[in-house]
């Protein structure tokens, strides 16, 4: 999208804006397909996707190494990157709508911290598990624990901030900060108990990475993330109405409490699953919805699907950088998203201040 086109949209009338948002969805969809294809075609190894497809088309078998690289490394990693990116960006957009605050993020209400605590528990205490149980869960222990941690945090958060069937968003925010602090403190305790090797694992986990993407993990995370993604569009009208305030939304006939329930559920599921499989990846949940609001306005009916598409493309792009920039080694993707995301975020803030007062 050129800057000129961007300005055209920014000053366009609402009806044109809606049409532009639809066009944007189409373009973002195409962008995602292009990024996924590029992600399959790039990597440290010289394996060529096109040569492999050509071989297959002519019925020739691939070499074992090429097959492993395409089928066991790049394919699950590409799908995982797209899913995690979509989950993070959509969660951010839903959160921001729910809290009527453009800076809200799953990290704010402690969901990420809870998931992180689960992962740290698994890394540090996993060694103490009985061998039979270890053999059963094995490599999935950390993702499962992270997911459980995210869920438990969400449930506690909900119990604390819901009175008589009504959820107070302000209480939820404060409870989230408290839970985040608690999770951080317990994580600190566990870090103290960790041995040298576990500490190094924790460091890497915290930086975030898609390197551990396997079909098994993908199958564990995908249903949850996809369910949240598919549920998100049903929240769009409710979140739009919530922008007017809860009372006004209620008068418009929006089932406010149900919208809040669904939104929290979707965010907890998507964030828990994303943190579980990829560790701590920051900035996607804030930067993507912001960019889209600048381009096509705050209407959630366009924002939610577009955020999923752009978040997926963005994370795949960041992952391609992380896989190739210091090949044959790789850079944790959390570093890449922070380096790319932080300046964009600042730039957005500066622009916003020029357009409207924050």
């Amino acid at each position: 999208m050129t800057l000129a086109a961007y300005d055209e949209i920014a000053v366009a009338d609402p009806p044109d804006r809606a049409a532009a948002a639809r066009r944007l969805t189409l373009w973002l969809g195409l962008l995602l397909l292009a990024t996924m294809t590029a992600s399959l075609a790039t990597g440290a190894a010289g394996t060529s996707l096109w040569a492999a497809l050509g071989d297959l088309a002519q019925g020739r078998a691939l070499s074992r190494v090429d097959e492993t690289i395409l089928w066991n490394i790049r394919a699950p990693r590409t799908l995982m990157g797209a899913l995690v990116g979509a989950a993070l960006a959509t969660s951010g957009a839903v959160m921001q709508g729910l809290f009527r605050n453009p800076l809200a993020d799953p990290g704010l209400v402690g969901v990420s911290a809870g998931a992180g605590l689960g992962a740290i528990c698994a890394i540090v205490l996993g060694a103490a598990l009985p061998a039979g149980l270890m053999a059963l869960v094995g490599a999935h222990l950390v993702p499962l624990a992270a997911f459980a941690g995210g869920w438990i945090t969400t449930l506690v958060l909900y119990r604390v901030s819901t009175r008589g069937g009504r959820t107070s968003v302000a209480t939820m925010l404060l409870a989230g900060i408290a839970l985040g602090a608690l999770a951080g403190a317990v994580s600190g305790l566990l870090v103290y108990a960790a041995d040298d090797q576990q500490l190094r694992d924790l460091t890497f986990w915290g930086l975030g990475s898609l390197a551990g993407a396997t079909w098994g993990k993908l199958l564990a995370a995908a249903p949850i993330i996809l369910a949240a993604m598919l549920g998100a569009p049903f929240l769009a009208r409710g979140l739009n109405a919530l922008a007017l305030g809860e009372a006004a939304a209620g008068h418009l006939g929006i089932p406010v409490q149900r919208v809040k329930n669904l939104a929290v559920l979707a965010v907890a599921g998507a964030t828990g699953a994303a943190v579980a499989v990829s560790g701590g990846i920051g900035f996607v949940g804030i930067v993507v919805p912001h960019l889209l609001r600048l381009v096509s306005g705050p209407d959630h009916r366009a924002l939610l699907p577009n955020a999923a598409l752009l978040g997926a493309s963005l994370l795949l792009g960041a992952d391609m950088i992380s896989r190739t920039i210091i090949a044959p080694a790789e850079l944790p993707i959390g570093i890449v998203t922070a380096i790319l995301g932080a300046p964009v975020f600042l730039w957005i803030l500066l622009r916003r201040r020029m357009v409207v007062d924050l």
Binding site: R22, L26, G43, A44, V65, T68, I69, A211, A327, E330
Partner: protein, 308 residues
């Protein structure tokens, strides 16, 4: 639901279709080869772990190395090899992109998913046990020798290293109990918090091998230690690592810390600095490192390399 969402779900369906189509094509390609590669004297090797890379050089097999990990910083020549990442954070595609015949890795290499993928790709992966003891070093040398098909050379090297370790131990054992120095191994002093070595650490083992006492034995592993515990441990000497020959904390900063200043080591300004991989790597140079440490603690002694 408006048209807009339908458009979105159309895209989703398109994406799903693309995934299914691609997946189908890929899944249809199952190669039938599943043969174990035999040990090949000309095999291209990726070495994961500083001590393993050192052993490969000691066995004079460096011409077979094609890549290394981040911790393989010795000898200097190894730095010229491509780096496939940190020992616990390997990139599987990065390793495969080197087309190795053999991957030699320390037992704690990872992540497990990366190792699984390497096995799936049919790369021969040999995990070398990594026990931080004198016996562990010899076992490591023999395991690398077997993997590289140079057992005879490995046996010679192992005997040589065993004799060196023996000499170091004999000297350490001769030190009278009353004369043994208390050594505090300081890993880092990040933000004024002293991270020091307790029981069951590589540092504690090396300190013991050099005839000294690890000043802290109230906990296991490397942990942040309170100032009072440092004063109570009363070390005679501080031991620190250099990274790539660079001193991380200079004497002035180290002895300005109140806890360190209040110990016998602080009063005497006694600090010993040694390379991290050299001191703690448990490889072929460990015996030499132990002797260096003993010399630094108790004064030089003629190394009559011919005896024993």
């Amino acid at each position: 639901m408006t048209k807009r969402c339908n458009r979105g779900s159309g895209i989703a369906a398109l994406t799903a279709l693309w995934v299914v189509a691609f997946g189908g094509v890929m899944a249809g390609s199952v190669s039938a080869e599943n043969t174990e590669t035999p040990a090949n004297p000309h095999a291209d090797i990726v070495s994961i772990g500083g001590s393993i890379t050192e052993i490969v050089y000691e066995l004079d097999q460096q011409h077979r190395l094609i890549a290394r990990d981040t911790t393989s910083s010795y000898p200097e020549a190894a730095l010229a090899l491509p780096d496939v990442g940190y020992v616990r954070g390997l990139s599987p595609e990065g390793v495969l992109s080197m087309n190795p015949d053999l991957v030699l890795a320390e037992a704690d290499a990872g992540p497990p998913e990366a190792l699984d993928v390497l096995k799936k790709a049919g790369v021969r992966l040999v995990l070398i046990p990594d026990e931080p003891t004198a016996a562990g070093i010899l076992a490591k040398i023999r395991a690398v020798g077997t993997a590289l098909d140079v057992e005879a050379r490995a046996e010679v090297l192992a005997d040589d290293v065993a004799a060196q370790l023996e000499r170091a131990t004999v000297r350490a054992d001769a030190i009278a109990d009353g004369d043994r120095k208390r050594v505090l191994f300081v890993l880092s002093v990040e933000g004024g918090r002293i991270l020091a070595a307790g029981r069951n650490t590589e540092a504690a083992t090396v300190i013991g091998m050099a005839g000294a006492i690890n000043a802290l034995d109230g906990f296991e592993g490397y942990k942040p230690v309170s100032d009072e515990a440092i004063v109570q441990a009363a070390p005679d000497v501080i031991l620190m690592m250099t990274r790539g020959g660079v001193v991380m904390v200079d004497d002035a900063a180290l002895f300005a810390m109140p806890a360190i200043a209040a110990t016998p080591a602080g009063e005497a300004r006694a600090v010993i600095r040694m390379g991290g991989q050299y001191l703690l790597g448990f490889g072929p140079r460990t015996a030499e490192a132990v002797q260096d440490l003993t010399d630094a603690l108790y004064g030089e002694q003629a190394h009559d390399a011919g005896s024993l």
